[in-house]
Symmetry: D2
Subunit: 330 residues, 4 copies
C-alpha cells in the first residue's frame, strides 16, 4: 500500500511504522510517502494518526499505477511528454563511433527540427570479440555535440560501473534492455531527478517491467519513461517482436509516458517506417529510432539503422499520422 | 522452382517432368504452372523445350513471394483488397448465437456502411464443456442475414468435416488459427476461387504461415488473404502478442494482401481501438474485429468483443488515420 | 462438475438435467457420467435424487484430473501403461516410405524385443512441395508388417478425412501435434476404445493439452496417453524445447499415462539418447523415438532419426536407468 | 579465430597484430593467446611468423568450443567437475536469512555428505517492496558457516557494485540469470581464477549464453560452469521451462562443465526430484537445488524450496541413477 504521511508526524513513530511494514519512503511535494509490499492491506490502528491518505494496491505496480496518480508527465528540456499533445522523436546512431559520424548525425537531425539525439557509449554486446563502444570518450563527444547543436542527449547505462558518469552528463538516462533488472542502476537513477528512459527487458514480463520502474519511483524520481523495444519470441524472421499489445496494457493501467523503439524490434531497415507510423497512431509519447550516416559501415546494428534519406522520407510521413490522432511530432 | 510450361507442349513429356520433379501443377491464365521443391534449382536439359519461363526460388515460399508476382489483389464483392487504396473492415460477433443477436449486429454494421460481417458457426473451443457453436444452423442464419442486408459473410472452417459446407455458402472462407496446418482444408480451399482468409497459427512461424498459403495457391486459387491475429509469447497480461513486426515482413516479401485481427491478440476490449489504428497506419489491407450487441452475455470471447457504442466510437476515428497514409476505410 | 448418475433414474429427468447444465454424458462401468462446465459448482435441489456421487472441479481439466480418478492405466496388447512398472518404448521411422524400409525397421526393432512400431502415413508437412506420405498405401504396409512381426502399430491422424481409416486399422491412434485442437478427430477417437496417443501442440499450454484429452474422455474412451514432444520457444539451436517441467506437472495433477518423444524436440540425432535417459529417469510411461535404416535418405526428419547401431547402443543403456527408478523397459 | 602466439615473439609485432585484429589476449599455460572476431578467418602473411597454432572458428563461441579444447574441467576444493566421473550437488536456501537458518541448513547438508552450500546475499528481486537480501552481512554468515562445517560456499553477484566483495570471499561465484549480460561482472570474474557458475539468462539464447562465458574465458579464467535454470516460454503452469534440450546442445558443442538448477525452473516443490533425476541421467556435472529448514517461512522462493525430509528422500534416490550412467554423486 501507499501511505501519504502527515507532515507534522513524530519522526520516531514514522520510523516505527517503516520498520513495522518493512517499507520504503521518499519525499514527494514536501511530504513523506511510504510504500509497503502490496500484500499489506492495512496498518495497525496505532499508526492511523500518522496517515493523511492511503492507497491499497493489488500488486507491486503501485506508484506507477493510474489508480494512484492518473497520469504523470516528464519534462525534457522545453518539452513535456505524457500530456497527450505530442509524440517526441529521439533519433541517432546506435553507437558513438567518431566525431565525424556524430557531428553529421546531429547536423542532419537538427536540420529536421529534432530535439534529442541518441547514441550509445557503453555498449552491452553479447560477444567480447566485437566493438564495445567508446566509453567515456563517447560521452565527451556527445557533450560536444550537445553544445554545438543544442540537442538533448540520451545515452545508455549498461552496468553500475559507469552509472554516475552517465547520470552526471546525459539529459536522459537510458537503462538498456539487458540492464532492466539491475537494481543498483535503477536505485541510482531514482536518486536524481533527470528523466530516465527504462527499456523493457526482451525477456521480461510487463509486470516486471513496471516493477523495475517502481525501483526508480520509490527513490523519489518521478521522471520515468517506459520504452517497449521488442520481446523475444519463437519468430526468427524478425529480430524481436514489437509488443504493441503491451503498449496498450501500459497505457490502460500505468501513469507513465510510453516510448516505442521500432528499430531494435524489427532488426532490419525495411519495417521501421511502418512500425513507427503504427506507434504514432497508437498515441505513444515518444519514439527512439536509429539512423546513421552510413549504416553499412556501422560498428553495431548495421542492418537496422536508417540512412539519412530513408529517415527523412519516413519523418515526412509522421506529421499527418500524428495529426490524425490529435497529436504533433515534437 | 516455379515453371511456366509452354501451352502447346506434349502432355506425356509434361507428365515426365512432373514425375521427375515430384512437383505440383495448376492452371493459371490458361497456362500450366509447375511448382517443385525450392531445393530444385534447375531441370535436366531434355525438359528445357517445355519451359516458357522459370523462377528459381530460395525457400518454399514460392507462389506467394513477391519476386515471382509483385502484388496480388483479392476481390470481395465490389471491393478489391491489395491495391493500396483501402483497408477493408470486417466485423461482427465471435459466434452466431441467435437470429436476434446476428440480426442486430448486421443492422448495426450495415448502418455504418460496413460491407462484410464475421461470425463463427463451427467453434474450435479448447474445452468440450463450453459452447461449441451452432454449426450448420448458424450458417443458415448467416445466409439469411446476407440476404436481408446485402453483406458479405466470412465464417470459419475448423476441420475437414464441414469444409464443403462452408466453401459452398460463405463469401470468404476463414481458416482458423488452430486449423492453419490442416492440409486437407487448405487443399480444399485451393479448389475453389473464393477468397480465403488464412489465419496464422498462434504458434506458427511466418515461414510456415506463408507456406500454408502455398497449399492453397498451388491448387489454383490465387485469392488468399494472410491474417495476423497474435502469437503466443511469455507475456500473459494480454491474451496474445500482436505481431506487427511480422506484418512488416509479410508486406516486404510476399505478394498477398494482409489482414489484422486485433481483437483476438488483445483479448480485452481496452486495447482494440489503439491496435486497430496502429494496423491502419501500417497500411494493412483488411481488419477483422469482434463486436457484439451485449458482449458480457456473449457465449465466447466475452472479454474482447466491443459493444456497439464503443465500436462506433472507434470506427469514427479510423478514416483520418487511413487518410493520413493515403487510404480509405472500405 | 462431474456427476455419477444413479442407475435407475428416470430418463426424462436425466435429460432435463443434461439440458439444464448443457453437459456431456457417457457410459462408464455401466453407469452414466455427466460432465458440465467446471464453472457449475452445484445443481438445483430438484435433481439431487438423480445423483449418486459428484465432484466439483476447479477447471475444465476434469476427467483427467487425479482428484477425480487417482490414476488410469492403458492397455496396449499384453502391456499396461501407467502402472509405474515399466516404460514402454515405441520406435520406428518418421514415415512409411517403402516395404523394404518398413520391413527392415520392424525386423530390427523386433530383434531388440520392442513391441510397438511407429511410422506415419498421412504426414502433416508444412510445405506442399515435399513428401506428403504414402497415405492409405502406407497403412497397408503397416498392417502387413504387423502380421509378419506381431508388432503393435501406432500411426498418426492429421485431419478428419482419414480418421476412420486409422481408427479401424491402427493399434494405437496418434493425434499429431498440429492436430491437437481438431475436435472432430478428438471426438472420433472418443467413440472407440482403442488407445489414443495425444501429442501436445507445440504452441499449446498444458491446460489446453489436457483439455484436448477431455474431448476424448468425455466421449467414453478412457484410453488416452499424453505425449510431450517439445514446445516452440525462442531457442533456435534445437528444433523445439522438450518440456520436462511440463511432464512433472502432468504427473502431479493428471491421471493419464505420460509419453515423451525426444526425437522431435531435439531435431538432431546427437541429443536423443541423453533426453531419452532423462525421460526414463523421470519415470515416464512411454517413449516415442525415431529410427530409420538409412536416416540420411529419409524423406522426412532426416536429421533426427537414429540409425540402427546408434539406436541399439542407446537402447542398451536404458535398462539400468529404468531399474535405478524401479522400472523396466517394456 | 584463436591464435597461440609463439613465446619468443617481438612484443611490438604482437601489439601490431592485436591492433590489426582488434583482438583480446590473455595468458594460458605461459603462452599468450589472441582471440579475434570469428569473422576474421586469417591474418596477413607478415604476422605468420608470430603464430604457433591457429584455430579458425565458425562463430564467437570460440574458447568454449570443443573443436578448440575438447573438454575442460573445473576444480572445486578437492573435487573436479567435468571429468565424467561424478555429478556435484550444491544445495541450500535461496537466501541467507539468519544465522540460525543458515547454520541448520549447513548442518543438515553436511550430515548428508554434501560439500557445497548455496545461499544468496544480494538478491535480484523484481519488486523493490520485498526482501532484498542481507547483503554483506549475509556474506559474513556464509564465511562463518564455511569455517564451522568445512563447506564450499557459492553465492550470487547481481550487479557490479559488490562483485569484488563476492570474488574475494566466495569459493564459487554465481552470476545470476538476470546478470548474464553484465559484461563488467563477466570481465571481473575473468580476472580471478576462482570457479564461476554462470547462469543462463531466462530470455537468453544458447549462443548468447556461451558467448557470455567467452567474456570470462578471454580474460584468462578457464574455470567456468554453465548453468541451465529454465527459460521463459508461453507455459505458465510452471515457473520456467527447464531446457534440457539445450543441455544436450551444450554437451555436444562446448567444452565447459554443465550444471542444472531444477528448483528455479519448476518453481514448485513437486517436480524438483523428478527433474533432478532427469538431469543426473543426462550426465550433468553439477546440480544446484534449493532447500530450507522451513520453506513456507522463506523470505524468497517459498514455493520451490524443499524441506529437509523431502530433500533427504530425493537425495537418497540419486546415487542409483548416477550409477546407472556410470557416475557418482559428489
Amino acid at each position: 500500500m501507499i501511505i501519504h504521511l502527515k507532515k507534522e508526524s513524530d519522526k520516531q513513530r514514522i520510523q516505527d511504522l517503516i520498520n513495522h511494514t518493512a517499507g520504503i519512503t521518499f519525499e514527494q511535494s514536501g511530504q513523506t510517502v511510504l510504500v509497503t509490499s502490496s500484500k499489506i492491506k492495512s496498518v495497525p490502528e496505532t499508526f492511523h494518526s500518522l496517515i493523511e491518505e492511503q492507497f491499497v494496491m493489488e500488486s507491486d505496480i503501485q506508484l506507477a499505477h493510474n489508480s494512484y496518480i492518473k497520469k504523470r508527465s516528464v519534462k525534457i528540456g522545453q518539452l513535456e511528454l505524457g500530456t497527450n499533445q505530442s509524440t517526441h522523436l529521439m533519433a541517432g546512431p546506435c553507437s558513438v563511433e567518431s566525431w565525424d559520424q556524430l557531428d553529421r548525425s546531429a547536423s542532419f537531425l537538427s536540420g529536421l527540427g529534432i530535439k534529442t539525439i541518441r547514441a550509445g557509449c557503453f555498449k552491452p554486446r553479447t560477444s567480447p570479440y566485437t566493438f564495445q563502444g567508446l566509453g567515456e570518450e563517447g560521452l565527451r563527444l556527445l557533450i560536444k555535440v550537445r553544445e554545438k547543436y543544442g540537442l538533448n542527449i540520451i545515452t545508455e547505462v549498461k552496468d553500475s560501473t559507469h552509472v554516475d558518469l552517465v547520470l552526471k552528463h546525459a539529459d536522459i538516462i537510458q537503462i538498456g534492455t539487458k540492464a532492466m533488472y539491475d537494481t543498483s542502476i535503477l536505485r541510482a537513477c531514482g536518486r536524481t531527478k533527470k528523466p530516465v528512459l527504462l527499456k523493457r527487458g526482451f525477456g521480461s514480463t510487463l509486470q516486471e517491467f513496471v516493477q523495475a520502474a517502481e525501483f526508480i519511483l520509490s527513490q523519489g524520481n518521478p521522471n520515468v519513461l517506459l520504452c517497449e523495444r521488442g520481446i523475444r519470441t519463437f519468430e526468427s524472421k524478425t529480430r524481436f517482436t514489437l509488443d504493441l499489445t503491451g503498449i496498450a496494457f501500459l497505457k490502460e493501467y500505468t501513469n507513465l509516458p510510453v516510448v516505442v523503439d521500432p528499430s531494435h524490434a524489427m532488426g532490419y531497415r525495411y519495417g521501421v517506417a511502418d512500425l513507427t507510423r503504427a506507434a504514432v497512431a497508437m498515441g505513444v509519447d515518444g519514439l527512439l529510432i536509429e539512423t546513421h550516416p552510413n549504416p553499412n559501415q556501422a560498428q553495431s546494428d548495421a542492418a537496422q539503422q536508417l540512412d539519412f534519406p530513408t529517415f527523412e522520407q519516413m519523418f515526412s510521413t509522421l506529421k499527418p499520422v500524428a495529426e490524425s490522432v490529435g497529436r504533433k511530432i515534437s
